[in-house]
Assembly symmetry: C2
Homo-oligomer: 219 residues x 2
DNA sequence: ATAAAAGTTTAGGTTTGTCTAAATTAAATT
DNA sequence: AATTTAATTTAGACAAACCTAAACTTTTAT
């Protein structure tokens, strides 16, 4: 089995690489994991010896097939637990990440299967992120960043790509959640921010940073 | 916060001491935790420095008040998760211990509160062990070991004091679970085993080892 | 009461995962 | 193309939690 530390590295590599596609840098990982680059080098040697990553010194890492399988299993567990916390224990979407971060490391195949069943095989977690299937598939849905909408265009929020409580609490304050109807009212070319009407109700101005993290369907 | 290793020592001390009453020996702990006595000495020094135990070299340990509070919190979490696994995820009573052993270390006050609520504030876990309350009370019920019943006496199984899968699977085979009605048919003085009728149905002979681990009410 | 046995602790070592500081390699700039 | 800068790796240390072997207490038994 893999240690919690190893699992966290694998998850970080997976996320930084854009779902396993590209190679990832040592500093990128040290930033994401809040460790020093030297520690990352150490761990990459170790993961490489276990054939979980392809590692070429000074040229970054990529997950092996096995590494990707492991990554998807952890992410599956993380997202299933998030669904559990929100749907069954009435957590809010800004409270779940930290707890799921711990639960994802519990080792039991049976537990994951039964949890999935208990939750009714959910397809997405409370942030709209897709849940990898038991077979290791990660079905990506059609969706676009709110930043890409033009004036007048509409969309329904289906995903937010940032699980930090501060960001999610900001969205709560603004009134944005999964399922919220949005429409672009105006574009401010100066900084690429957009004025967005929320549920045909009030309207707010969202910075381009925020716009890149909110995803919508039916554009 | 306390590490998983520290929590496991605290739990072991609590259990070996008979819920905190008596002092516990180094070898007792090393047996229970499957470590060497030398490792136990190290850890006891550490726990003592944190004021979680009273430790007098060569004369055993006891939990401090704080240590007991910590122990009860861990046991509360362990038993709540066991209830969850059995009642919500359809685990059998012999499958839950190992998984709960991992889940008990997840740190989140909110999680424990909400889980307790979700489960309807259960009083006992799937083995009949009482669940410490949020306030740190451990309500012990009236019950006696099956070994103490005389011929003809009846009882209803309310608790089994051994969570090892092998033991629980043995009980499954014999047909004993929580709620099962038993009656002592005969006593074999040679080895203190008893012939027990199960649900007024078949009858089996149980060794005194086993009889000490099964608890009943309505004697 | 003393010697042997049993239990416990200390000393010194290992592994995992981290760190700092120094050395090395790659990338960017002139 | 050479040199500066940035990124990365190696070397050497450290804390946690474990180990073995040796030393020390306590208990037990003669």
């Amino acid at each position: 089995m893999h240690s919690t530390a190893e699992e966290n590295y694998i998850k970080a590599i997976y996320k930084l690489s854009g779902n396993g596609a590209n190679a990832v840098s040592t500093t990128g990982l040290s930033d994401m994991l809040a460790t020093k680059p030297a520690s990352v080098s150490d761990m990459l040697r170790k993961l490489s010896a276990k054939d979980l990553v392809h590692y070429v010194k000074y040229h970054g890492v990529q997950l092996t097939e096995e590494g990707q399988r492991v990554a998807l299993k952890i992410i599956r567990k993380h997202r299933l637990w998030e669904v559990f916390l929100v749907q069954k224990l009435n957590f809010t979407w800004d409270e779940v990440h930290e707890v799921a971060e711990q639960m994802e490391h519990v080792k039991s195949e049976l537990l994951v299967q039964r949890l999935d069943e208990f939750l009714g095989h959910p397809r997405v977690d409370p942030h709209g992120d897709p849940i990898p299937t038991e077979a290791g598939e990660l079905p990506e849905m059609e969706q676009r960043a709110l930043a890409s909408l033009e004036v007048e265009q509409k969309g329904v929020v289906c995903r937010v790509k940032d699980s930090q409580p501060a960001f999610l609490q900001y969205l709560n304050r603004v009134g944005i959640q999964i399922g919220t109807q949005l429409q672009v009212v105006d574009k401010i070319p100066y900084d690429n921010s957009l004025e967005i009407s929320i549920n045909k109700n009030k309207s707010v101005i969202l910075s381009s940073d925020v716009l890149e993290k909110i995803f919508v369907i039916n554009p």
